[in-house]
Symmetry: D2
């Protein structure tokens, strides 16, 4: 059976990535696409790389008949999202890719996003969409909140370690390197090719990045006590991919063993042999996350490196993985595309 | 039914691209992989991006039992290839990706490759693998010679125009821009990131590039008289993609119409609206070729721009498309992966 | 003696490049910098790469006392420029980097820029700033019109050939590859790293690029009869550099000899040995232009390849070279910086 | 007075960078260039970007008359260097860019480089070349050992902090991002454009990178007790530049103040305002090092970010800065070239 899919916000990168993945998905068919400012255009006009597909024309959200939709992906900007979803049918299955429903506590939302949440009831209803750790809730859920792409990368590296108690919870440093597509299709000087290519720099350093809200929420819940990590993201001259170098205190062998065991049956999470560290080039365009662990010459320290594609496993691929669960499809349906190299 | 596939020369870029594409191909299963110097290694060791796949270990060619193989892709270096294929079973279906069987005339081969052909009988048997123009021969063939990636790009732009007689055969200029993966995984100074990134230059200029042998052979045969094009390739700081800017004498509207009509039923060849020209970014990682036509302020001149991914439509994707025909599979099987953007 | 320099429009790339070059210029000192929307800021805030320099704060143009300025560089947007310069003192030496004064004929200006010129008298006064061909006029001039960067590249390849009569004037094709800094610091989707990096495409194809106005004006004047070239620019994923592949009809040896002789005493124009073609990597960040010539297997055809850095020799370096002449300084003063590689 | 300079190993990146910088140096003239395997060639053949310079032909080391040389830069590979320098005149001023004389203790050398040192007496004589901290020794020295480029970056961030006692010496993490030119012109698969561009990964992780030997030596000496840092380098798809993100325990304001004061009179070390972090794009091609400090939401932690160009301040620029001191020239002579942007 083919499920009828709507994508709201199809003119951004995560929207386009959803279309790219669904193009070869055996159980989904796109029947509605929205893009407010580009309503009336075809996807081929907005994204010529999709011109071989037979897709519905872009419309405004109000023009969509949601009664004929089985599941709706929402790839709209933050803040706008909560207003839009509040007006959608209350029984519509939704996978949201924005930041609006990631934090459960309204106070946390206000702290990190600088304004009160406009749909607190939905915020309570939403399920945090880190698939491998919330499968049952996602399967049973109606509104799934896709995780931050950086937040996903860091959690894949750390959750099993926190749960197993093999690292010091008070000394975790996440030094993250991110490709530029994570910033979306926004017109900013620092995202221009001329300004970014050939260089690197930090952004939102010093404990200000909003994905820290997710780390705090999830790690503290997991540990049963407050956990605060140090987190510094860097922008790199690459389009796709995140590499998180995570510095922990713990015995490296144990760290590796915990991760390897935690993920041994996971189709998308691949733990490399001990001492081997991953490259973002090996997961580009795919839903895979590679993880590696190495010790240090300083006893009692270990470094975990996790890589994933921010647009796929970190966003649209994760969204489809969650939608597969919600629709009763095989979890990996449409997501086994191999990475692209070189 | 799933066909059993062997890939000879699996440690190069075209070999890896074959594996990438077959990974989600519904009718093929890889049962043998060879790589002479890396025999004994796993593909995950040679290409970590393929580590999620369950693949046979790399072996030497002699270790493969070809009686259990339905079709063999040969992705070996030039010259080596003719020796290897000469020793393979004579009834084995083979799709070759090297340059060894592209030219039909032994004298042409000697002229462009600087040595006599070592398997002239196979050279006669081989079918030129530009799928859209040799479908029947490929379906009936046993040994298919994959085209040069540049040669494919130029031919997609020009064959229908030559056949239709809408351009001057004595004034054709192909200015081609190529990504670096076309040069393979060879260790040369000019292919280093530090030397290539951020710049561009010509290579094999002045009528010396070997793909001219293919242009000469194919265009002359099509026109029924000698056709010699001018061809200048440039290396660009990008990994995948070829863009051919083809300067022709002819009425631009007619040129566009001929191309649009020629390719209207082709699944992989997309002719853009008149006046719109394509980008390599819109076909990366896919088997699609986009073509555009524009006129010039100088009457009687037209420019055709064709783009394709050298590793996919220009090489391994083409090879699988041909293999699909040879195995009685749908021609597009496994090849409808959308391009990757951004 | 150190001359006092003003730069109008210092917050764009050509403005910043002027500052970079003047930083180590022995005969110039920057005493005024304007940037309308960024007035009040320091250059270190706008361009942190210049933070080691002791520079005046950015001001509005009206705040500058031009009586204390020896020479003014104007790096403002097109159209704005003619209005600004019309209001500047009539005896102020000006080197303009915009397109406003490149075309001498008001009708040509209107044709290529879509509006009547607002300062026709200045247009008549202006000297076309291609240094090597207008030295005397520049030395004697007051208002110098910097050339288009593409226009400069094409002219370096072609002017001596047209003057010497060694090529067919009716069959000239310029296929040009340009780095992205030529588009300036403008916020456009196609200039984003995510959209440009890793790919290439044409722009202003089909005889629509405005630099054609310069080619027409200069080549026709030189030939004494109308000359129309075919010109297709491509955007490349690199920040600096232009490579022009120029296809001409003529005897390649003669073409090379004419260029070599024409430029043998030029400090910035380097003609490579016959058959050797240049790379943009070898001139990045410098005021040098490298040229190469090769023949073709088709008799009577030659290919000239010229490379230069669009921001230096194609714009700000040229401007300083012209200013040196106007100020009685050595022509090469401050401009002998070696290219940067890798 | 112009000093006569020899460069041994002129065919590598650091050798070429020396030539680039000396090209506009007012007090140095290159009179000898060696390159063993390329002896007999011109620099224009090996590095076309230097073709505008009037340089001596490449020779073998034995062909150089060192009696006419005032100072010799040695840019040879590790291990080879100690043998070569041992055979040079004992009174020749030498600035070495290799790793051979960076470590003072023969046991340390053997530990990090895997073999006994072949010129222990020279090892004792050599002065560690981190200019700002060893000025007097360098001025008086005969053999200066250029620092590792990563080692320089980390030391600029940390030395004043260790000296001032404002950070915890037992909890220092250096997460470093390096451009590819630091790996030299070596032919390795992972340095190919096709493999590196668009991605990132760690190298020599886990406490194995040889520059740790320098950190250990220098930091321990400075602190008067053993200091061991954790150090993880990453390779980035950029040609020039290093960014070190240094995680320390200490009060961020004090950390910033110590750095700002330590470097306030340094011409090449620029400390940004508190809370502002630097970009590698702002120092490319220059001898400048930018440093920034930010606090964290976790009290008592600070992050220092230092950037420099590995080929300039990290290697050849540092070498010239040291040579200036040895020759009695102004320390900044020839080194005030502004960075190149974009």
């Amino acid at each position: 059976m083919t499920h009828r899919i709507a994508i709201l916000g199809a003119s951004g990168y995560t929207g386009a990535e959803l279309v790219r993945l669904i193009a070869t998905h055996p159980g989904m068919r796109i029947t509605a696409l929205s893009a407010d400012r580009k309503a009336g255009m075809t996807m081929a006009e907005v994204f010529p790389f999709l011109r071989h597909l037979d897709l519905p024309r872009l419309v405004k959200i109000d023009e969509i008949d949601f009664s004929s939709i089985d599941l709706c992906f929402c790839a709209l900007p933050h803040a706008t999202t909560q207003e839009v979803i509040a007006r959608l049918p209350k029984d519509l299955k939704i996978v949201d890719l924005s930041a609006d429903f990631r934090l459960r506590d309204p106070a946390d939302y206000q702290k990190w996003y600088g304004q009160p949440h406009a749909a607190v009831d939905l915020q309570q209803e939403a399920v945090y969409g880190l698939t491998e750790f919330y499968r049952d809730e996602i399967r049973a859920g109606r509104l799934i909140a896709g995780t931050g792409c950086n937040a996903a990368t860091g959690q894949y590296a750390l959750r099993p370690l926190i749960a197993a108690g093999v690292i010091d919870l008070d000394d975790i440093v996440i030094d993250l390197k991110a490709g530029v597509s994570g910033a979306g299709r926004s017109l900013k000087e620092n995202l221009l090719h001329a300004e970014l290519s050939g260089g690197t720099y930090t952004y939102s350093a010093g404990g200000k990045h909003r994905h820290l809200g997710e780390f705090d929420q999830e790690f503290s819940k997991l540990a049963g006590r407050p956990v605060r990590v140090q987190f510094t993201p860097h922008l790199l001259p690459m389009n796709r991919g995140i590499l998180a170098t995570v510095y922990v205190r713990g015995e490296a062998g144990a760290v590796h063993e915990v991760l390897a065991r935690a993920y041994e049956d996971e189709p998308f999470l691949q733990v490399l042999p001990f001492g081997t560290l991953p490259s973002t080039r090996d997961i580009a365009g795919s839903n895979f996350c590679h993880l590696g662990v190495i010790g240090d010459r300083i006893a009692g320290r270990a470094t975990v490196v996790a890589v994933l594609d921010n647009l796929t496993k970190g966003s649209s691929g994760q969204a489809i993985q969650n939608a597969n669960l919600m629709l009763g499809l095989p979890e990996t349906a449409g997501l086994m595309l191999a990475p692209i190299f070189p």
